[in-house]
Symmetry: none
């Protein structure tokens, strides 16, 4: 099947209508017992219920049947990019996830701290899973020891435990990412020497090998965290620009780095949000203040996912109810098209992302009567939108906003 983006792009037209896409991260859930209620069905959501009666509902599968989406693929699908075709490399996603902006030509690499024994043989590929504090201490050492390599700026960032990210900043010539892994994925052998698989990646392989040597020197006095392994090199993904595809001026209103990073990768403007953590009030304020300046808003809620990841059913219910309470503030802006959806399910029962489709709600002036009476997984099954791929959502929102011309005469 040809990419839906290629079909939509020549049909898109600028209009004054406004689209608001609310992403309740991980909102889809599961009942705790057979035939019980999910988190959404348990929550008291008077405003969502009233909205659902006037909206079209359905279910969206973000990647494919049975596939549990990561945040990257889930969001790319919502933005209309087939997540099986548009892939953000692990290194780039790690960088994006901690808020590091990548520029064309840079390479981001995921690293693990490791324990090396005699003759550099790997004893533990995760260096005994150091604490985050220890991780930060090691990263500080490495930053001091390796600010650059032969004129190429090197940036080193903590992730958690044994994980860190290195960004090699291109100066002039772009760096290639086609480099073999340093991590042999077994113990009892020394780290591999990185090899470039194409000429554009030769400088990157040199940088990686130099980094490994200099890191081992800098960490020689560490009893356990004394080596580094690399796996997953990414250059910066070049995705078609969201605004160009859809003829939109699009803005992201989110507070966590991963989501701002993903929106920025496809070219959305990332708006500042006041407040700590999920900062829902700040996000409402940012939406209100910027309402006239954009015609598409991606508006993200994080805690519906975090509570699901924690396996805390009651807390997730509560977060859904918190969103319901501020829904009137969003409705007051009278978007021409309002979409409420998740980027994946995160059932408390699984305490993780899951493959289950997410409930999809679209409100516009051009909807049909629809049997779904609430924004829940069960009611969404009765909705007129049916069960769809996530990549169908953007074309549907564009159509409902009357922003797509007819295909063919």
């Amino acid at each position: 099947m040809s990419d839906l983006i290629d079909t939509v792009r020549p049909l898109a037209k600028k209009t004054d209508s406004k689209i608001l896409m609310v992403v309740l991260d991980g909102v889809g859930g599961l009942p705790l017992t057979v035939n019980g209620d999910t988190e959404l069905a348990t929550a008291q959501t008077p405003h969502l219920d009233a909205l659902a009666v006037q909206s079209q509902l359905g279910l969206a599968e973000l990647v494919a049947a049975g596939i549990t989406p990561g945040s990257g693929p889930g969001h790319l699908s919502l933005f209309g990019y087939d997540p099986l075709k548009y892939v953000v490399g692990r290194g780039a996603l790690s960088a994006v996830g901690i808020g590091v902006k990548l520029n064309a030509g840079d390479v981001a690499v995921r690293g693990n701290f490791a324990s090396l024994g005699q003759s550099r043989l790997i004893v533990d590929r995760r260096a005994g899973r150091p604490s985050n504090e220890k991780n930060a201490e090691i990263v500080a050492k490495l930053r001091a020891a390796i600010p650059e390599i032969g004129g190429t700026p090197v940036e080193i960032y903590s992730e958690s435990e044994h994980r860190f990210v290195v960004v090699f900043r291109a100066t002039g010539t772009p760096l290639g990412a086609n480099v073999s892994d340093v991590d042999p994925q077994v113990t009892g052998v020394p780290p591999h020497v990185a090899v470039a698989h194409d000429p554009a990646s030769e400088r990157t392989a040199e940088l990686v090998n130099a980094f490994v040597a200099r890191a081992e020197a800098a960490l020689a006095d560490e009893p356990q965290v004394n080596g580094v392994l690399f796996r997953g090199y990414s250059d910066v993904p070049h995705f078609p620009n969201f605004d160009d595809i859809y003829q939109l001026r699009a803005a992201c209103i989110a507070s966590y780095p991963m989501y701002k990073g993903l929106a920025s990768l496809v070219g959305m403007d990332v708006l500042p949000v006041e407040g700590e953590e999920d900062a829902l009030a700040g996000k409402v304020a940012a939406l209100r203040e910027n309402w006239d300046n954009y015609d598409f808003f991606y508006w993200h809620v994080k805690k519906t996912d975090s509570t699901g990841e924690d396996g805390d059913f009651a807390a997730k219910v509560k977060k859904i109810e918190l969103f319901d309470a501020l829904l009137p503030d969003l409705l007051a802006l009278q978007p021409d098209v309002l979409c409420i959806v998740g980027d994946h399910s995160t059932p408390s029962k699984l305490a993780s992302h899951s493959w289950h489709p997410v409930p999809l709600l679209i409100q516009s002036r051009y909807g049909r009567k629809d049997a779904a009476a609430r924004y829940t997984e069960e009611e969404a099954q009765k909705g007129s939108l049916g069960l769809r791929r996530g990549t169908d959502i953007m074309p549907l929102l564009m159509a409902n906003a009357l922003k797509l011309q007819k295909y063919g005469a």
Copy 2:
């Protein structure tokens, strides 16, 4: 995704069973107010209602989510041709739409009449939108002045206002259509000289440039309509033959040129229909008279679309009821498989084609119990056929007619 046609073709077998595909053009609609009734739900349709109870229902998306199909893509999808793969060029579609038969090797070109000023600079790309009468008068002048160019027959046809179509008839060597536009799409510059982009199109570019010069000479005494611009050259689409794919003898019963042309492009026999405009009685008679000679009938109703395009809800309801009244005449022929569907939705509320899925009804001896009680958008949501791509319909009809062998052992 591989093309469904390629899967179906080797499985198709000839049998005596008969399939009747009724296309109610643009039949899908919208309620005028939230949760109101659509045109189909408002109409009094006792015969359709009774049929629906005994049939399978579902919804069909002709092109893709959110995509509003033109008549060409909508019909190709109904005939089983993926409309994102099988494309009818604008020139060819214009020719087809006015009933001109194209032969292999011919090229059809869409033209605009334009107003040229001093030094051939374009003043108005639409020549002040002349009346259809003026258009016909100009076309007559051009026909007299340009019956052929260097031995290549030239045919000129009116469309409406400033629009016309030219067909260059191949004599021997096929004409290519890979020619640059004469229309610069701006005013204040002269028309472009057409350039061939491949050797097979060199003769076509010569014909186009000669046509432009001779037309300007013939129209030199016209104050306003004194130039021609070309955009959209099409050779004749070479689609796999419908009868060959499905092992059918297929006939088209329609009264408007566009639909006869589309059926003819895929190789159906186009049967004569007595009567003016939609000529429903004539179409019933044509079906009855030819019932023994074919095993697939495409039977088209136009006015459900026209009234929707006019934004006339009540008139569209009336046209649906008119169809309902003659449904018993169709049922009396006892087709083995009866399908009722649209080629796209045309809600009166939008007064245009729309992206909304169309209700799909299939009656055969081999259906399951189905909760849909009427042929309406709302009831079709409950149907056993689900929400599908339009290209699924032909395989379903073939299967229900027991005309498809098992796939694999």
